[in-house]
Symmetry: D2
Amino acid sequence: MPRHRVFTPLRWSDMDAYGHVNNVQYLRLLEDARVLAFGEQGSHGGGSLVSTGLIVARSEIEYLEPLVFRALPVAIDLWVTAVGGADFDLGYEVRDPDADEVSANGGVASQVVGVTGEVTEPKVYARAETTQVVYDLATARPRRMTPEERQRLAALRDEPVAWRLRRRSRG
Amino acid sequence: MPRHRVFTPLRWSDMDAYGHVNNVQYLRLLEDARVLAFGEQGSHGGGSLVSTGLIVARSEIEYLEPLVFRALPVAIDLWVTAVGGADFDLGYEVRDPDADEVSANGGVASQVVGVTGEVTEPKVYARAETTQVVYDLATARPRRMTPEERQRLAALRDEPVAWRLRRRSRG
Amino acid sequence: MPRHRVFTPLRWSDMDAYGHVNNVQYLRLLEDARVLAFGEQGSHGGGSLVSTGLIVARSEIEYLEPLVFRALPVAIDLWVTAVGGADFDLGYEVRDPDADEVSANGGVASQVVGVTGEVTEPKVYARAETTQVVYDLATARPRRMTPEERQRLAALRDEPVAWRLRRRSRG
Amino acid sequence: MPRHRVFTPLRWSDMDAYGHVNNVQYLRLLEDARVLAFGEQGSHGGGSLVSTGLIVARSEIEYLEPLVFRALPVAIDLWVTAVGGADFDLGYEVRDPDADEVSANGGVASQVVGVTGEVTEPKVYARAETTQVVYDLATARPRRMTPEERQRLAALRDEPVAWRLRRRSRG
């Protein structure tokens, strides 16, 4: 599976006055995951997927389940949904870690394992997509990606985002 | 024109390390405008458009121009793009105030008037849409809107959002 | 009185899960006021108080009253409490606007005027102090202020912050 | 040593337009560490140190070194500096993890180990102190701590914060 999984701890301040992780903060979590995957530290220790700046040109997100602050990190899966000449789309899923991943990431296994010890089905909290334009930071202009960059992105290509709420007639 | 215009000052902290208003913070600005329009103070002094809680179920935004912090507030136009039984969609445009509005809102007219005194065309920085579900806060469940609520929303009905970047084939 | 008053609107997102403006966000409000007073737009339209970058070296704040989101802006008074060779201290008071200022700043006079029309005593929500170091952005080093800069700061000099909670024995 | 150490990942958005972790965000990091230490998950797996709500009444912080976003978490040491009847003070130090802690927390050991493999001295980025008032959430009033609560806090008692910049004459 070519999806890239990042574990992101929540902050208590991600919650708003309703006591849930605020809808805007979900996009902050996506940014966090994207920076870790595409930043200088790169993807899987293999260097950055693209070598220059990325500008977000578009964001779309559906909120599926309310999320409350907890010590357990969320898992953010991200993958490529489209590759253009100077831009590409990323799909995201914000979800609970799988039960076998928990001990390695914060060690609060009790939160996704029920009180009787049975494994709870991990929840999906949101699905999202963002469009990134690849920039030449020196000229402050979009630039075409190199074949190697497109190849690296293509290796993360997976299914389109499974939107539930997007209504064609409204777009 | 049934669009509702809110003037929202930027904060210096809305900028990120690239020196532009961060893409996530645009949604914060939309939240700010929505709360002012739908909050207890209500719309145009006439009370809230809906009388109970709103949960954001979906957000979509396109970033059209980079925005840098300045003392001049941005104008956020919001209007209704769809009305369902228990939910409705809002369209947004984040833009410069018109030149004749500036003196009344922060008084930094020089920023949208060119150095020779000619009026600069106000820029549109982003277009967006969010879906709100109307909640009964007591039962924590969605509830159908009353005819009066639907009527108030319908009075703010305007054109669909003029998306530029949304690609049908990717959805 | 040499204090400089800035009116800063709250954002709904300034509240945390307790339903009050979060203690950390108060410092965000102070930053906002400081940038407006010291930024390019300058103080009272007269240009910036200092002509290069400021780095915050120290912050101290006491929270005196809980603050809940509202459309009415808060007033932030800021003034100079100390001037050094390359640094200076600012005092702050976060408070309700005076009743006669309200109509000019958001027009929600009912919020500081009681239901019978009598004027409610404006509350003070927090008192704070920050130390700024004046930087030469080109060399990324502190630099001594010019006599003119020190003179402009001295014109904003006022009383030390009236701390209530600071305990000498703990420092 | 009775200090409690929490590892907190930075977020790219913690940086401001100057490209450093913003001074206000340091207090966000402290909040994050405090919530993890005092929250429901409790301290060292042993349950919360105090059983009801905490309100921050005072914050003080000194910024010692600039901090730039990186994948490596920061270590936040927190400890008790004073215990009153209904309140207590916490001291904090925001610092690099020790070299032997790095592989267990994000595994980016190269960032605190120099290019030649020699261990770099971990930096201290900030020192801070906050005062918390213990609240009875049901009555929304401060309440006296129980002897057991005071005993648990006393077990985390350590030295006063080693302020560098606080000036007595200005207080």
